[in-house]
Structures are given as C-alpha cells and as structure tokens.
Symmetry: C2
Subunit: 430 residues, 2 copies
C-alpha cells in the first residue's frame, strides 16, 4: 500500500525555525511520496483509501543519524565512565560477542524490534567489525520495515585483541566480501563504509577503505572530535594532520573525493570539539553532523556548538548514539539537544542562543532526513515516513493547541507507548 | 497492613557512595517500619504474611523534594523561555485558574493520580496562593496514599494582579485559616510554609510568615539562587542583605530560628548560584537543598555545584520541579543529576568529579527522605516505603547482575510502566 490518505492533526517543519500545525487535515501519499497536506481532499485523489486518525497527531518519522546496534544490549548501564574507559571496559568486550552468530541474531533481534516499535523510521547504524553478524543485522533491519544504512565496522588497532581485525588487508577483504554478499539483496537496507574512528584504523586500513569507497561509491560514517582525550590521541597518532577531520579527508572520506571531484556522502558523529578549520572543511564538503547530546553528556564529552553549525547552514541531524546515549528515542534527543544548548549558552557562549523546539524538531526530521534524500517532511515530493501519536492518556485540565500537544508529546516521551501507526517510505509498518 | 515480608531482589543505598544489592532476599516491615533485609526469614517473623515478588526489584520509594502541583498541567510545554519570562507568560496565568475550585479539583486529580502511579512515595509540594484549592489538593494527596508536605503559596507582589494576594495581612490571614482548617485532618499530609520566593514577598509578608512559623513550628520551603536574573532582582529589592538566603534567614526561615535557637526545617530549591557565604549558612543551619537538574536546564538557569555540597556533607535531595522540570519522574532526576554533573565537571570545574549513580540514588532516597525522618532505606528503623519494579520487558541477550539491572531500570525510565506494587509508610498503595 503506497497510495493512501491519512487524516488527523498534522505537524511538520515549515522551515528550520517554524512548525506547521494543521488540524483535521489530509496528507496524501502516492507511490510512496507525499503529495502535500490539504484541508480538503483534491478531486484527483478522492478515490484513494482514507485512514482517519481522528484527533491523533501525524508527524514525520524520526531520523536517527547515529546508533550502535551491538551496544543496545547494555544501554543505560555503566554510565559512570568516560569515553576511552567505557570503550575498553564495556563496549569492546560486548562487541567481541558478535563473532558468535547465534548471539548476534538474539541481540540484534531485540534491537530491530525496539526500533520497529519506536518513532524512528530511518537510521544510520554501526554494527561490529564482524562481516556475517552485520549481514544478520541487515536481514533483520530489512524485515523491520525501517529504512537504514548499516555499516560493518573497520578496526585494525587499539581495541581488544579479539575485536581488532587481523590486518588492514583482512579488514578490506571482509568489507569487499560483505558488500558483494548483500549486493541487490535488500530494498530498504544499504551498506555504509564505517571506519570506527581514527584511533582504531591504521593508515593502511584507511587507504584500503578509500579504495573501496571509490569502487562502490557508498557513503561513509564515523566519529569525529567527540572528546578531548580522543582528540589528543589522534593528534599523537597523526601528528602531521592539521586536525582530526583532516585525516578522514586525506583518505577522501570526508564529504568529497578531491581527486575525482565527486561527492562522498559522509556523516560524522559528535563534532563537539571541532576546530574552526575542521568546521570550515565540513561546511565546504557538506559533511553531515550527527548531534548526539545524551551521549555527549553521559560520556562527559561536552556540548557540540550546534547554534554555530546552524548559523553556518551546515547539515545537522540528531543521533541517539546508543549506548553512549542510553535511549534510542529521538524524541528524547530533541529535548536533550535543547537542554544542552541552554547549558552551552549559559556556560560557554552567551552569543549562542539556545536551540528552539522547532529547530530541534527540524534536525530530527528533515535535517537528518536529507542524508536519505527528500525525507522528513510532508511537503510534496518527500518520501512518506510518518508516525501517528495518540496523546489521549496525557490527561489535561485546560485547552491545548496543536503546538502545545506536539511539544508535550515529545518532552514526555510519548514515543514509548503512544505510537498508534507507523509508515516508512510509503509502507505501513504496523 | 503494616506487618509483612516482601521477597525479591532488594536494592538500596548502603551509604552515600554504595548500593546494597541482595538477590532473593527478604525485607521485613513491622508496624510500618523496616526490620532490615535478610537472606533467610528470622524465626520471630516467620508468621508474617509473605509476598513473593520473585525476580522483580524491590527498591525504596523515591522522594521528590520540589514539585509544583498546579504546573503539572503544562509540563513539557513552552520550554523555550527563561525563568522570569516563563513565570510571567505561562506559570502565573495558569496558577490564577486555581481560584476556581472546580478547575482545581479537576487539575489536582490528574496530578495526584500521576504521582500515585509513579515511583514517588514522598513529596514536598507547592500549591498556589489559594487557600481552598490548597485544601482540595491536600484531600487528594491524602487519598493517594503518598506522604507529603503541601504548601499554600504566599505572594503579595511581582506577579499578575489576579495572582498576588491583596496584602501581606490577607496572605497571613489566609495562611492561618488554612493551617487551622486542616489541623488534625490528615494522617499523611502536612502543611509547609511556602513564601514563593523573595521577589514575590514583601518585607511585611516575610515578617508575618516568621510569626506563623514560630506559632506552629511548621517547616518551610522556597526557592533560592536559581537564576542570575532572579538573584540580581533580589539584590535590587533587598540591597542590605549580604546574599539571597540571608533574607530568608533574617526572617528565621532558613533552617534555624536564631532568637529562640530552634530548628526550622527548611528546604530550598535549586541553589545553583549560591555564594560561599550562602552555602556556609545553609550548611551551618542544616538547610536541605532540592536539586532540580531538569528544571535548571530547561529554564537555562545553570548547574548546581552538587559535588561541592556533597563534600561539605550538606543535606541534598532531588526535585522534579514540575513544570520547570517537564517530568515528575525522580528516576529521570537521578540520571539528569548525573548528566549535568558531568557537564559541570567539563565546563565549570574539573576538580568537581561527576556524581555517580550510587550518589544520585542516595539523594533520591535517603537524601531527600531525611526531610521526612528516617526514610529512604530498608535498614532497620526506617519507615517502609518501597516500589516493586518489573524489568522483564527490557529484554536483553546477555547475563545482567543486579547493579546493572537497577541502573538500567532507572536510566530507561522503568517507573513509567514497570512498577508492579507500591508501599508508603508501611501501607500498600496498590
């Protein structure tokens, strides 16, 4: 079913600063794409199936720009540590387990089920370095109905022995194998090249990945300038690079292949401590920023200067970063983004105005959605992702307008138990 | 039913830094008080009723040291404003409505029902300045089974005309009337003197409240050093006082009556920007701090220096501060307290180590519980407040120990739909 009409209270971003809220309106989906929102059904669409969601809210699906599937199992635990300790003591030992496909199937099934039930319709996902476990995850994501990028991780140093790949060549070999295995296998699940981060990737591995990227033209995801300790380590490892992102750029995995002058679609998680030059290169090259406020708090990393990125008109989406972030809810990421921006204003830069609800909502939908194409809006031509929210159980004594209901639904986490229907790419998921 | 035994996985603070986690153990309640936790039932208690909660977690009830009942209706809305604007544009107009007892009954019923269903067993509550509506709230809280302090607010300036009381004398008169009305009426619901904050209370009103406090010996709650703008305003209004808290102290509502050398049990919400002298006086006088991290983020107030307060061995509990805070969950306040302490460490003072999970859990239970007496633990002699948590639906692929299950339950907000039973003061609430 890719042609239909939904009726209800429709909310979506009008632009980066404002939200459209339309009571009792119709959003029309034809061939998986929106034809726009109407107060009455235009004649040409009157024969389409109408689903009436009555007083419920219909909003675009959420886009999670950064989530680690194998870390879902230990979300909300061991949160008293900083990034590097947390990686070594908990994350790497847990990720080792995904060598075992039985374990991978069990754990990834829980992950896929959770994402299916939540507000997220699109996600950019880290798996582990294990090729076959990554394919298990991709099978499950395809079944879930979500539209995702999934990356087999590449890492050949600075992890536990069991987790490091044997060599740069083995890592490349397995990456080729993985991409070829899944070639043409899925409709909604695509591969993304995933060097874990510079500390875990030798120069040789980066060069291999550069070649793979050029061969297949697939997008890239990684981590960037998350935490001061990590950045110092990168500087130690790569003393000749001007800044952290410059290393990715040297291997043509930072938005652009300079030699061939082609786009290399790239998303970098965090960007908390990016230098001016790094920011400038991200902007020039159109690198997407996955802003992960909960993770940046939990791991004591810091607060990304999102107001600055917005003013520079950069590409920004939100990430849950499970399990640095403890929740896979992008509703939660919206409110976290607002909250940390207020602390940034208060403690770091009083010129950086806090992010508004409308701005954070935009990042969670169209902002991240752009990584997938025209996604995150009900304007004509956008791919049709939607969730239907029932806020009836959030009883209130006063009149509420639609703006208030939307803000409240997000702040109170109505995605946990208030979603009544979900659509991705014009397909009803449930 | 005040004599019984609960069996399950029992978790509670061992001290300020550690949590006891006891699998398959027994906690015994006699006459509403804990007799302690045992691995086997001592002979003398073998005849008591046993309730077996199997693999569930049994933890102390949460204590909310600061919540505004009339603001519950608009929690999670209009969060793009700072404190003073938020008060004038949303809070005061909403609170005006509580002149109408029909509205008050409707709104407060929703509030009481929510608190009853959540993890909170004890709360210190602001009502509005309306005497009769406050009594409506107290009736509802008594019915809920929670054990609470409820305050009719005093305010005779700097609000909307409809919300300000007509004069200091009228405010005092209504406060006397209120206290006398409810005298002896409730078992679990007690009055607390509630000057809103210095900007809303004239000198004359403060003097009247001082007299009322001395007459009845009831505790005091108010706000302190929440936001720089508010503090500047207090300095403007009271130029001769050394610091904000000094004004409360001048009227003997800051932990102590100096003249009579008596204790005046006092809780002050926020204490984000307290000066060294203010902190020292709070410490000396035993003033409780209600730490409200979500509110302090939402209203861009700042981050309270909780590590410093802990090191000074001060009295600290957690507050949801609905609707400055958008959620009434003290589970959420625990994780918020940890998160903001990490940002404080990162941006304000690297000598202030982040708060650990165990420390925040202590504040949420024994820390705030001390305001009510011996509350917040299962050690012998503590009043018996407990919640039973079912984390079965939080599926996981790996083995988890009890520490991990507890931390996860709190981080993932299991208080929203995972509470299976609740006890306050030895009484089963549901």
């Amino acid at each position: 079913m890719k042609d239909f009409i939904l009726k209800g209270n429709i909310c979506y971003s009008k632009n980066k600063k404002e939200i459209n809220t339309l009571e009792n309106s119709y959003v029309i989906c034809v061939d998986g794409k929106s034809k726009g929102v109407f107060s009455e059904i235009p004649d040409e669409y009157k024969k389409l199936t109408l689903i009436d969601y009555e007083d419920k809210l219909i909003i675009p699906g959420m886009v999670d720009m950064h989530i680690h599937a194998p870390q879902f199992a230990f979300r909300g635990m061991c949160m008293d540590l900083e990034l590097m300790d947390w990686l070594n003591q908990y994350t790497f030992p847990e990720e080792e387990k995904y060598e075992d496909l039985v374990y991978a199937e069990k754990a990834y099934s829980i992950f896929a089920e959770a994402l299916k039930n939540g507000a997220t319709t699109r996600a950019v996902i880290f798996a582990t370095r294990h090729r076959y476990a990554t394919e298990v995850l991709m099978d499950l994501m395809e079944k879930s109905g979500l539209i995702t990028y999934v990356g087999k991780v590449n890492m050949d140093r600075e992890a536990t022995e069991a987790l490091e790949e044997d060599s740069a060549l083995m890592s490349a070999y397995n990456t080729f194998g993985w991409i070829n295995d899944i070639n043409g296998k899925y409709k909604n699940t695509k591969p993304i090249l995933t060097p874990r981060f510079i500390p875990c990737c030798t120069d040789q591995l980066m060069e291999e990945l550069r070649q793979i990227q050029m061969t297949y033209g697939i997008p890239v995801q990684s981590h960037l300038s998350e935490s001061p300790g990590e950045i110092d380590f990168v500087q130690f490892l790569r003393p000749d690079n001007l800044f952290y992102g410059d290393v990715y750029d040297e291997y043509d995995m930072f938005g652009k292949n300079d030699e061939e002058n082609t786009e290399v679609k790239t998303v970098m998680a965090h960007c908390v401590w990016s230098t001016e030059e790094e920011v400038e290169l991200m902007r020039e090259n159109g690198v997407f920023i996955a802003h992960c406020p909960a993770s940046n708090m939990n791991l004591s990393s810091g607060i990304a200067p999102i107001r600055k990125y917005i003013e520079k008109n950069m590409k920004i989406g939100l990430g849950s970063d499970v399990a640095g972030g403890h929740s896979d809810s992008i509703f939660r990421a919206i409110t976290d983004a607002i909250q940390v921006s207020k602390m940034y204003w208060r403690y770091v830069d009083m010129e950086s105005k806090p992010i508004t609800f409308a701005e954070a909502f935009y990042m969670a939908t169209i902002g991240g959605g752009e990584f997938f194409g025209k996604v995150g809006s009900f304007d004509e031509g956008f791919e049709f992702d939607a969730i239907v929210l029932d806020d009836e159980n959030l009883v209130h004594p006063q009149e509420l307008n639609l703006e208030e209901r939307l803000e409240r639904a997000v702040y109170l986490g109505l995605d946990l138990n208030g979603i009544k229907a979900k659509y991705a790419g014009g397909q009803k998921m449930w």
